[in-house]
């Protein structure tokens, strides 16, 4: 990278470029290998770890590893318990655990220094465009949000029946008078559209913005000795602040997932 002459825009463009692999004709038939591979590796490592700990779980005195995993589980379980009233252990609590842990670690990839990782991918793995943070790809966050959206509709229909769901589409929140059916439907339509959009774009926006600020500070560091010092200091500050954002966004994403699925269980 350093050998070529780089302009600021090409630097940012380079860092924000996906490792896109076309699998067919048209702009839709493209796979972002970096997003997929990074999230898959994280998923396998984290959930493999959880599985490894849980497989040896004892009801007696837990070891430190098990105690830590139990702490995580209790944390999630308490959040779910306060929102969802029903058999949460069957699906919603483990799903919340999945969402929280996976999103947390995908977000945490933001802590990896962009340029050093870029060099590592380029020189060691021979990958030119490779982004570390899967959640700064709108496809990843939208995939999660849409999956939750599908689950939401699935549980809504499962709990209330197809008729009940359609009835709710037209008869809430303003009442069952045929005159307000269009208003109700419009209202519900907006709600169903806005839920996955806000759900996914909130996470994506935070992570994407975080990455861009790291890139801008990196650019500043390339301007000279003063820029290097201040860029490094500010990068450190931003990284520390990012610890909060990473955890907070994962938590928010998990909570919204639980809230949406719990709302689908409730009749209006």
């Amino acid at each position: 990278m350093a050998s070529e002459q780089m302009t600021p825009s090409s630097y940012i463009e380079h860092h924000l470029g996906f490792n896109a692999k076309p699998v067919g004709d048209g702009s839709f038939w493209v796979l972002h290998m970096d997003t997929l591979v990074m999230s898959a590796i994280l998923g396998v490592v984290i959930f493999g770890f959880l599985w490894w700990v849980v497989r040896g779980a004892t009801a007696g005195v837990p070891g430190k590893r098990q105690a830590f995993v139990e702490l995580l589980m209790e944390f999630i379980d308490n959040q779910v318990k306060s929102i969802f009233h029903g058999n949460r252990h069957a699906f919603i609590a483990p799903a919340a655990l999945t969402v929280f842990v996976w999103v947390l670690f995908m977000n945490a990839m933001d802590f990896l220094p962009v340029d050093i990782m870029g060099k590592f991918y380029h020189n060691v793995l021979g990958l030119d465009h490779w982004r570390s943070v899967p959640t700064s790809d709108v496809n990843a966050t939208f995939a999660l949000a849409l999956s939750v959206w599908v689950l939401m509709i699935f549980f809504s229909i499962k709990v209330k029946g197809l008729g009940g769901w359609i009835h709710e589409l037209f008869c809430s929140p303003f009442g069952s008078n045929p005159l307000v059916w269009p208003a109700n439907f419009l209202f519900n339509l907006i709600e169903y559209v806005s839920k996955p959009l806000s759900h996914s774009l909130r996470l994506f926006g935070n992570m994407y913005a975080g990455e861009i600020i790291f890139l801008l500070l990196g650019m500043w560091a390339a301007t000279g000795i003063a820029g290097t010092i201040f860029g490094a200091l500010l990068s450190a500050g931003w990284a520390i602040f990012h610890i909060l954002i990473v955890v907070l966004q994962a938590f928010i994403f998990m909570m919204l997932t639980v809230v949406y699925i719990a709302m689908a269980h409730e009749s209006h």
Binding site: S39, L97, A140, A143
Partner: protein, 156 residues
């Protein structure tokens, strides 16, 4: 930043991870936690029960101690009474026995006195006869007056 097939692929891996967690991660952990919770609850209940039993037992023990003390003091009182009775009885017996012995001794003494008196009387009569004999030796024929002498001796 365009939507493409990545979305579907990511959704698939998300579904797999959820399935994996629901199937393999959550249940054993929940099981372990709930089993432990039950064990702890049982342990606490057992502790509570033990405490309660201890309380009851100590109450019962103090009750037992109390009754035992009462019984002991009753026994002691009884024994003391009995001892007093025995002593009293012994005193009475001793008194009666003493009196009996005293009476016996008195009777014996009386007997002895009577016997001595008898002896003395005989000796006195013999002495009197002997004296009379000596005085009357010549005048009285023993043979002739023996009947009279015997009568006198008998009278003495």
């Amino acid at each position: 930043m365009n939507i493409n097939l990545t979305l579907l692929a990511q959704a698939v891996s998300f579904a797999i991870l959820i399935w994996f967690t629901v199937k393999f991660v959550w249940p054993p952990l929940l099981n372990a936690v709930e089993t432990r919770q039950k064990q702890i609850a049982d342990g606490l209940a057992a502790g509570e029960r033990g405490r309660h039993e201890l309380e009851l037992a100590s109450k019962r023990a103090s009750q037992d101690l109390h009754t035992a003390k009462e019984k002991a003091s009753a026994i002691i009182a009884q024994a003391e009474k009995r001892a007093a009775e025995i002593i009293e009885e012994a005193k009475n017996n001793a008194k009666v026995e003493g009196e009996r012995i005293l009476t016996g001794a008195k009777a014996e003494i009386d007997q002895e006195v009577n016997r001595a008196k008898e002896g003395l009387r005989q000796q006195v009569s013999q002495l009197a006869i002997a004296g009379a004999e000596k005085i009357l030796r010549r005048e009285i024929d023993a043979k002739a007056h023996s009947d009279m002498l015997a009568a006198i001796a008998n009278e003495l």
